[in-house]
Every structure is written in structure tokens, then in C-alpha cells.
Amino acid sequence: MYNDQLFAGGVHSVFLADWELLCRTPMVIRNGQQITYRDSASTKTRYHDLQLKWQSKDSQGFEVAALHYGYEIRGTHVDSYHFVPPSSIRGALRSWSIRHLIHPTLYPALSQPPKDDADGIADHKICLQKGLEKRNTGCELIASLFGLAADESEADMPSNAGRLHIETERFAGTGLRPVDVSGVSMTTADGPENVRREMAVRNPLDHITHASLAGGLHHFLEVRSGETIKVHLRIINPLDCDLGLVGLWVRELNDGMLRIGALSSIGRGRMEVQNQAYELWSRYNAPKLKGHSFLREEAESIRSNDILAGIWMRYAVPPETLPRFANYLKDFTGGCADVSQP
């Protein structure tokens, strides 16, 4: 049975992964906001003297779905910047893992139904109990890596923070304020300027008449292909299966089967893991991974200023060894056991 006291024995090791992801196709990360752009083109023409404003649509403008951004206060002004929220990466990894490693009958175990859905809540509880009863359903792996949420009223239900923590760096560009619109530069007076962006348009057609679908025309901002994102993963008290799973994520990202952001149906969010580096830091008396022989003990680290430097052992994990850990994953998925039947 699953024990949600993940750190009862303390923290004995940390697996650190650094990815540099290259956008092989454009990437769309929405924040639900609509901003405005103006096009001075006359009737039957388009894209003349384009201007983007990071504010709500005005009477002369058109709406465009914004790209996710954050901001910080520097002195007397607010600086905004685009970045990929860690939750987007986490969501993509979690969703891929659930879809591939968990039996569909157990999906309700890993999604919280609305509070007013009594049947859904009951189903969720039953599925979760069944899923966590045995290790080979995959639920334990998902619960321990990504965390398990329970409502305050569900004291009897397991809950824990995940062992996987994700951080992302903001895009590193500067002075990239204009937005490309089909080869035409759209000026912006404000807003983020740290990544190359494009404004895409979609204009669905009526299948009977081939006229534009009323209300269908819409625009959105996206990160241009060729841009890179830096992602840092940290897995506390890693297991062999965790390393195997990271290896699978890398393969699937490179194949385009695991995508970041929205609109995968029109090819957005395909990544290439352009650079990857892995380290395992562990206490001297930490339990050894079964695949310990794949690791390489190293004194030097790119993180020589890390708080753990000189205290814990540091092992380099060569990227090519990760797939070898996939064998250990089988114990935690076991072919996605269907426990819905008694």
C-alpha cells in the first residue's frame, strides 16, 4: 500500500536534470488574456503599419490572444518577460506519464472532480484506493513524483507533495520587441521583449460554402521555432524508475510525442532536447540505486557552489545511460494493470 510519508526517512539524495529545449515548431503558452493590435491596411489588404499594444482591445483594434508572461518590479518600473511556466512543463510530463503508464480505468484516480460532483468524488476515491493498493498500477509512481492532492475534508485520503520539482528560466533574448506577422514587422511600444514571437491567424471555413466561419477568425501570439528554453528538474530521493522515466520523456520530447504548450493539433510545441546534463547527489549512507554502476562518481561539478558541494557525493549520469534505467520502470507500471475488475 502506498505510503504518502515520502520523506519519513529523511532526504538522502537528489537527482538534478538540466535540459535546454529547442522549439522545433512554434510554441503557444496562453495566459487567458486578450490584448489588442491595429492594422492600418485598407479594405481588401492586410498587414500595414501593424501595432501591438499590451492592453485590452480598444474600438479600433483587433483581439489577439497573449503569450504567457511574468513581471518584476525594478526600481520605479515594471519589467515584463516571457517564460514557460514550470506548471506547463509539469502538466505535459504528468499528462504524458498518466496516458502511457496508467490503465484508463484508473484515470479518475488522478484528477480531482468538482466539489459538487458527488459521484465523481466517490469514483475518484475508489479508483485512487485501488490504484495505490498495488505498485504496478503506475499510480504510486505518478503520486509520488507529481504529488497527490486531497481535500481538507478527506483526512483519510493520502496526500503528499511530489518528489519532482521543476524550474524554468525566462527566455534569454533582449530587444526583441517587434512581432513577426507573415514576414511583416509589428511594432510594440511596451510589453516583453525577450523572445522572438509571431502572430498567427486562423480563419476556419464553412465546409458548405467555403466562406469564413462567422466568429471563427482569431489571432494568437506564439514563440517562434528555433527559440530555446532552459528547464531544471529536481527529483528528491530518486528511484531507478525515475531516471528511466526521465529518459523516456527525453525520447518522447525528441520524437514530438510529448509536446509543450497548447495547440498540438496544429503542430505547436514540438521540442528537441538540445542539451541535457544529469547529476545525482547523495548522502554517504544513502540507499544505492540498482543501476548505480551506470553512474560516474565525479568530484567536479558545474554546481560546485551548490549548497551540497563537498558534503554529499556527486555522480554524473551520462544521458545515454538513462534508457537503461527504463527496465526498472516496469515494476512501477507492470503493463498498466487494470484493477477495475475484482
Binding site: T25, P26, A41, S42, T43, K44, T45, R46, Y47, H48, H100, L101, H103, D180, V181, S182, G183, V184, E198, A200, R202, P204, L205, D206, H207, I208, T209, H210, A211, L213, A214, G215, G216, L217, H218, R224, S225, G226, L248, R251, E252, D255, G256, M257, S264, S265, I266, G267, R270, A326, L329, K330, T333, G334, G335, C336, D338
Partner: protein
């Protein structure tokens, strides 16, 4: 005087959509995920609209660009494949404008796509739904059509009231980029247009004629200061529209204001309003860079069907982009490789190269691959008629003009009565059309007064129609 067929025609609706439960689709066979690598080859110049700039005498439309390269957007490719799928497999009409209300000076007969329409004023005749509501996507049904199973439903922008709930697509299409040298402006690559309004009035279906609509009635319509005219009221959309392939260079010459046969009316300043749009096109013979179409858990028979939809046999070719009515946008997809894996429970395998062959359209082959049950054979026949790529046939397709004896020609009700008397048909308004044949007989009787009354008759009387009817998949 003979005429050219209209540039588009309709794939008629079958009696009911082909629907299955999701579990039935899922159970069709082993499922596969992965991607197909594909190239698009232009058969005629292809134009996807990017920036459009106005000049003194002409307009210039650049090819759409993305990430610094010319590009056929994924949504364009996906839309093309989905529209074909919906027609071929008797699917729902996933995208249709819901309402065309009666509007003074614009639309005399209002109608709705999937619901009855009550004009609430004037002639209170209720227009029945233009499309059988059985073809309206259903959010709450336990069944769905092939296209929705494969392509999902994404509510983008402002959803119309009938759209089904969001459903993830199992087919992910990426943008198809072109090398810069594949596109260019050429003096012969243009599309006709006029200043101001829309050329040909845009794609505005009217229930006041039998063009987009099946014949239903003939009304006596009173116009201020004029004798009453016959109004040919239609009721049901004829089907799903597709454009014929043709040679654009030959076609657009006919629309040229100097050497063509198309008459451009003058505007108030007595200037001809001809205002061509120069098109930056992907040149015929050029191919896109390879792009990918991803598949996410598609059962073997539907994977085969999808491959056939992408490469629809020996004769059928797709069209996409702008100015399809003038011959632009004829393309050929070529599946170059397939990297797939079976979908099962447990740790997914790595992708592997797989077979990319397509099946013939004959019933035996379709049955062998278990896709015959999803094909509307009549639709396939019509798709072959409309989308057959047969350059040697040298057919030309042109819109009827807005001039005497064509679209502009009103038919006085007294003339209509006279013609009906000759063919011994009742003419007291409203004349209710009971069958296609009756509508056709009426249109035939009026042929010398006005040719484009009944779309089907107009097509069947056009030059080369016998060749078109012999086309096969």
C-alpha cells in the same frame, strides 16, 4: 451558346451520417501512434494569403510566411483533409455558419443551417433547416463520425451555439514550410477582383435561387416600380462544396478585362472596376520541405483510411489555399515515410519505420482493409468527378456572369407563366416543387431566358460535363 461548367460543385449529402460509438472505433484494430513525413507538391500555382498591399491598378498578395519562410499553415492542411474526410465518410458538417437571417436589401429569404427559420415579418413562411439536422455535430450523443474521431473538435474564437464540446484531435498536423526559391511572383499569376465589394459577391449562399439550394418553390415577388418577378426559392443545401482542378493560366485569361470575355461593370466614376490581385505562388512542380502529421492512437483501419485520404489514389488530388475557383491550389501529398509504434498498455516502444502504402478505392480492397463501411460510395464518385486531376482533358470552369441571361437576368412572373403554359405545368404562385425532375423541367423551360437557374441543369448542360461524369476514383 455553350458555356463552361461552374468552378465548384457539390458532393451530395447521403440519407444519414455514418456514426459509431467511440468504443466501436477503438475496437477496429490495433492502434498506432507516431508520425508520417510528408511533402506537398504543387500541381498548379498555390497561393496562401500573407500580406496584401494595394497598388494603383492592382493588388499584390504575398505568400504567407512563418518563422521567416513561406509556409502552408497546419490549419490549412488540416482543414483540407478534414473537409475531404467529412464528405467521403458521410460525416457531420463540423463547420457551417449557423444563421443567414432575412435582411433588407441583402437577403430576401432567410434560413438557418440546422434549424428552421422564421422571418418574423413579411412573408412568414418558415424555412426548413438547410442541412438535415442529423448532420449537426452532437455534443451529447454517444456516437460520432470518423472526422470527429480523427480530427477532434476544437472550439476556437467565439464558438457557435451548435459546436460540440472540445475533443482532442488524434491527428496533429505541422506547418509545411517551403524553400524561398519555391515561391515567386509571375505576371500570369493573378486572380480577378474588383475594387470595393467582393468579386462574385463572395460565398454567400442564397435561398432565393437554386444555386446552392435544391429547388423548392417558385414565388411571385413584387418589386417596387417593376413587374412581379419569379423568385426561385430553394430549401436544402445541395451538398458540400469542392472546386474543380483546372489550368489557371487559361482560366484567368477569360477574366481579363481586356482580352477576356468577362464583363466588368463600371463604377459611378465610369471607371472599370477590374482590379486584379497579383499572387506570389508556390510554382508548379515545387515541393515543400518535409513536414509531419502526427497520429495519436489511431486504429489500423482508420490509419489506412487516413493514408488514403492524404493520398487519394491515382486520380483524386486535393486543393488548398486562395483562388481555387481559378485553378490555383491544386496539390499532391506524398507520404515519404511513417514512423509508428503500436499503442498498448505499459512503457511505449520507440517509433519504427513502417509501411506507407495506400489501398485502391475499389470495394474489394476497402473491405479487405475494413474501411468500406466508412465510405459513402456516392460521395466518392462525386469527389472523383470534382477533384480528379486530369490536365489532358483541358477543361475550363467559369462562373456564370452577372449580366443578361445569366445571374442578373430577372424573369418576369408573366414570362414564367407563359413558359409554364407551354410545358403544361401549373404556374399559380407559389409553385411547389415536388421533385428534382420538376425543378429541372422548369429551369429547362426557362433556359433561353436565363441559364443559371438550376445549378445541376447548368452543370449538366456545360461543355465537358460528359467527360466529368466519366471520371472515376
Amino acid at each position: 451558346m455553350s458555356h463552361n461548367p461552374n468552378p465548384f460543385d457539390f458532393v451530395p449529402f447521403p440519407s444519414a451520417p455514418i456514426l459509431r460509438k467511440e468504443e466501436q472505433f477503438d475496437a477496429l484494430g490495433e492502434k498506432f501512434s507516431g508520425y508520417l513525413e510528408i511533402e506537398i507538391k504543387a500541381l498548379t500555382p498555390v497561393h496562401v494569403m500573407g500580406q496584401v498591399e494595394d497598388g494603383a491598378t492592382e493588388r499584390k498578395s504575398s505568400f504567407f510566411r512563418h518563422s521567416g519562410l513561406p509556409c502552408i499553415p497546419a490549419s490549412t492542411i488540416k482543414g483540407c483533409l478534414r473537409a475531404f474526410t467529412e464528405a467521403l465518410t458521410a460525416g457531420w458538417v463540423s463547420r457551417a455558419n449557423a444563421s443567414y437571417p432575412k435582411e433588407f436589401g441583402e437577403r430576401h429569404v432567410g434560413f438557418n443551417a440546422f434549424e428552421s427559420y422564421d422571418p418574423k415579418r413579411g412573408n412568414r413562411r418558415i424555412s426548413p433547416p438547410a442541412i438535415d439536422p442529423a448532420f449537426k455535430p452532437k455534443a451529447n450523443s454517444d456516437k460520432l463520425d470518423v472526422a470527429t474521431y480523427l480530427f477532434g473538435t476544437v472550439i476556437e474564437g467565439k464558438p457557435t451555439e451548435y459546436e460540440v464540446q472540445s475533443r482532442k484531435s488524434k491527428v496533429w498536423v505541422e506547418d509545411a514550410y517551403l524553400p524561398l526559391e519555391a515561391i515567386t511572383f509571375k505576371k500570369d499569376w493573378w486572380a480577378p477582383d474588383i475594387g470595393g465589394g467582393a468579386f462574385m459577391g463572395g460565398a454567400k449562399p442564397s435561398a432565393s435561387n437554386w444555386w446552392y439550394f435544391e429547388p423548392a418553390r417558385v414565388w411571385e415577388r413584387n418589386l417596387p416600380g417593376h413587374a412581379p418577378v419569379a423568385e426561385f426559392v430553394g430549401e436544402k443545401f445541395r451538398g458540400r462544396k469542392f472546386y474543380f482542378h483546372q489550368n489557371p493560366a487559361k482560366c484567368i485569361q477569360k477574366y481579363d478585362h481586356k482580352k477576356g470575355e468577362w464583363i466588368y461593370t463600371e463604377n459611378k466614376s465610369h471607371q472599370r472596376t477590374f482590379h486584379p490581385v497579383r499572387l506570389e505562388c508556390m510554382a508548379p512542380g515545387k515541393t515543400t520541405l518535409r513536414f509531419r502529421i502526427y497520429l495519436d492512437g489511431i486504429p489500423q483501419p482508420l490509419l489506412q483510411l487516413l493514408k488514403n485520404i492524404i493520398q487519394p489514389g491515382e486520380h483524386i488530388r486535393h486543393k488548398l489555399g486562395y483562388a481555387k475557383a481559378y485553378g490555383y491550389g491544386s496539390i499532391e501529398f506524398a507520404i515519404k515515410s511513417a514512423n509508428l509504434r503500436p499503442v498498448g498498455l505499459g512503457i511505449p516502444e520507440a517509433l519504427e519505420l513502417r509501411d506507407v502504402s495506400v489501398v485502391n478505392w475499389d470495394m474489394e480492397s476497402l473491405a479487405e482493409y475494413r474501411i468500406a463501411e466508412f465510405i459513402d460510395q456516392k460521395a466518392l464518385t462525386w469527389l472523383a468527378r470534382i477533384l480528379s486531376w486530369q490536365p489532358h482533358e483541358d477543361l475550363l470552369f467559369m462562373y456564370p456572369q452577372y449580366r443578361a441571361h445569366e445571374f442578373k437576368q430577372p424573369i418576369r412572373y408573366s414570362e414564367f407563366e407563359r413558359k409554364m403554359a407551354i410545358i403544361k405545368m401549373p404556374a399559380s404562385a407559389p409553385v411547389i416543387i415536388r421533385s428534382h425532375q420538376q425543378g429541372r423541367t422548369i429551369a429547362e423551360a426557362l433556359w433561353d431566358l436565363k441559364r443559371p437557374i438550376d445549378f445541376r441543369l447548368y452543370q449538366e448542360k456545360a461543355e465537358g460535363w460528359d467527360i466529368i461524369t466519366r471520371r472515376e476514383p
